[in-house]
């Protein structure tokens, strides 16, 4: 076994290229807020511009083929970009974008023409994408969704309502799942679309959350050309699966959960100031540390599996489940060890480690996007052959 990417000379040179490029291009827009919610419109604009440059370079989706707007790089090169970007993540404003979820179904089920038309704007960072899945009646039970897209000549006419879309600023592009055949059986009645969000009939209102805000979006007789349907009519569920396999953890990730660093910095500072952890506290902090490493290892395993196209079974959901549960455990440990200081946010001068611990208190509650803890377990049970429903990992890229 080898847990390290052994970088060739070529990759080392490439890393330097990436670093130099980032030095030159990361926007100088002052210290970013801890809470993405507080990013100013100017910062958001700068972030999108940076993203555009990254996309132009082909480094936003480096493994996507050149003809579809990527760089066609091997994953060994892509990982260098991932590592360098994550190294500097706190300097680069986060731009909510689910293009990474829309590209795989297009690559698998899209026509050549669609791949050349629909992928490049995403891959080049010219647009951001919403994931239009959830509805009021369709949360965990996604297949119960009701938004309809009814074929009329060369178009579909869409009516319905989606929840939890995007971030504080609207996206330009939408990956949307609708019912195209109300009479077909469950899972066979759906189709997936990619469409612009500025079409007539689309309106939105913000959803105010205690984390990053989202939008509720209404579709009132929205007309979408047939060419924007991914794959055949009725293939929507397969598209969803290709997406969810990745969102549920199949894409893997690299590195330790970031709150760990902030918490350790806090503890080292506190120690200097004379705060000594008792044995119980110490054990809990180290438990948190070990479990963060387990999360890193599950993430690395999944990353490697995806890169080498070895689709496992339960591993994606295991990573997701572990991360969510450990997030909750971590927040309790932080709350116990730090006390009420853990709730002071970045706006207040008394905030410790810039308010990262407070941000984590809120984020950790957020176990629901990309399927709840219970649903991850439902999926795992199917894939370890316990459930009445049995399945392997979905087809994805």
């Amino acid at each position: 076994m080898d847990f390290e990417i052994v970088y060739t000379k070529g990759q080392q040179a490439f890393r330097k290229e990436v670093r130099d490029w980032l030095d030159k291009n990361i926007p100088q827009i002052g210290e970013l807020p801890v809470d993405g919610q507080h990013i100013t419109p100017e910062q958001d604009k700068a972030a999108r511009a940076f993203r555009g440059k990254l996309g132009e370079k082909g480094w936003l989706f480096p493994t996507v083929p050149v003809e579809y707007g990527g760089k066609g790089l091997t994953w060994e090169h892509a990982v260098v970009i991932d590592e360098e970007l994550s190294e500097r993540a706190e300097e680069i404003p986060h731009v909510p974008d689910n293009s990474s979820l829309a590209i795989p179904p297009l690559l698998i089920y899209g026509t050549e023409e669609q791949k050349r038309r629909l992928i490049p704007p995403m891959a080049r960072g010219q647009v951001t994408t919403w994931q239009g899945f959830t509805e009021a009646e369709a949360g965990s039970d996604l297949a119960a969704l009701r938004t309809t897209a009814i074929r009329q000549g060369d178009s579909y006419v869409i009516n319905g309502h989606k929840l939890w879309q995007g971030g504080p600023y609207p996206a330009e592009n939408w990956y949307l799942i609708c019912v195209t055949n109300p009479d077909a059986p469950r899972h066979h009645n759906l189709s997936a679309f990619v469409l612009p969000t500025n079409l007539p009939g689309i309106s939105m209102i913000p959803q105010q959350l205690f984390v990053y805000n989202r939008h509720q979006v209404f579709l009132d007789n929205v007309k979408v050309p047939v060419e924007n349907r991914i794959g055949e009519e009725g293939m929507g569920w397969q598209c969803v699966q290709a997406t969810l396999e990745l969102e549920h953890g199949g894409s893997g990730r690299i590195g330790l959960p970031k709150v760990m660093d902030h918490f350790l910095s806090y503890l080292r500072e506190a120690k200097k100031a004379g705060r000594i952890l008792d044995a119980l506290e110490r054990d809990r902090v180290v438990d948190m540390y070990i479990n963060a490493h387990v999360e890193r290892l599950f993430g690395l395993r999944n990353y490697w599996q995806r890169a080498t196209k070895q689709w496992g079974t339960y591993e994606g959901s295991q990573l997701s489940l572990w991360g969510k549960v450990q997030g909750l455990n971590r927040s309790k440990t932080v709350l116990d060890v730090v006390g009420p200081d853990a709730l002071v946010n970045e706006e207040d001068s008394a905030a410790k480690v810039r308010g990262w611990l407070e941000e984590h208190q809120r984020q950790s509650v957020l176990t629901h996007p990309g399927a709840t803890i219970e649903i991850q377990k439902v999926i795992m049970a199917r894939r370890i052959a316990m459930s009445a429903t049995q399945e392997r990992a979905a087809v994805t890229v």
């Binding site: 076994m1 902090v285 070990i290 377990k377 439902v378 052959a385 459930s387």
Partner: protein, 376 residues
Amino acid sequence: MNLSLTESQQLLKNSAREFLERELPREEVRRIDDSPNGFSPDLWRKLVSLGYTATVVPEAYGGQRTDFTDAAVLMEELGRALAPGPFFSSAVFSALIIETAGNENQKRTLLPEIAQGRRIVVPAVTEADYGWDPEHIKQVTATRRGTNWVLNGAKFFVPDAQLADQLIVAARTGARGITLFLVGGNQTGVNIRNISGWFGDKLNEVTLSKVSVEASHVLGTVHRGWPLLESAMEKATLLLCSYMVGGTGKVYDMTVDYSQRRIQFGRPIGTFQRVQDHAIEGLNYLDAARWLTYEALWKLDTNKPAKEVTEAVSMAKTAASEGYRGAAGHAHEVHAGVGVDKETGLYLYTKMARTLYHYLGSPQQHKKRIAELLGI
């Protein structure tokens, strides 16, 4: 990066599993467990003839060591089959101590004998006031008498001592010094008493009264025994983790298998979400321990900086101890009454998980070490 076993590791894994399923079925484990000295000469001969007892010993001393990950692949299978104690005590732990601490002459005499299974050597480290750090080595003392040493005191919770041709005794030789001694298992003044309890291996009290040891039987430098022992222990700990991961894997497999076969309310119990939760917890324990162990082995095999290896070992042992015990607990929930019946054999894992929980350092001790390394 490559997270799969090599082809030869996969071959070793398969052949070890096949061999152990044939030669060490559940009934045989029970029989050995119930026997007074916990040993099967027949199984031992076979483990020797396959070269398994030579896995950790370097080639220069009659062994077949390649790297620790290879050895770990075998240990995982041995743990899955619950291969009894002297394998680890002698062919792993003692072999590593002697390799680390012994002089050339000791290595040449002892290691080939261990590799060929002709001699069983067992470390005797812990005492009634239990702990795997130098502060807990105080009851057994050694004092000089002429050119010899005289050992007194008692070691407690010593696995496999009942089988030992020789013991490696860690004794206090002064306020700041610990020295390692080779002591004959049948030597005058050595008394071995089996401790009665719910143990997976035979654990013993080893009493030493005026045991006289020649200077040539000191392992390593006088007063400097602890760092040598610790260095060997680090490697041994990882192989113990693999043994524990193997057992955890078996316990998890039993859980899923039983949940598919047991019908209640007209359906397999595995289709109930509450039952699934237990299996998933078991699987998470298993994978956490397995990946931490593999990564630590890789760090050891590729000579990563000492601190990094130490941290990785302590994380792995914590996860292996907590994982094995935890997964066995979830297995019992799913097996319910059947799991308590000795016939099922689940209890063999349950008690092994507890027996190894503190062995080579409890989770608490390892966490303390990690905290020190983190500077918190």
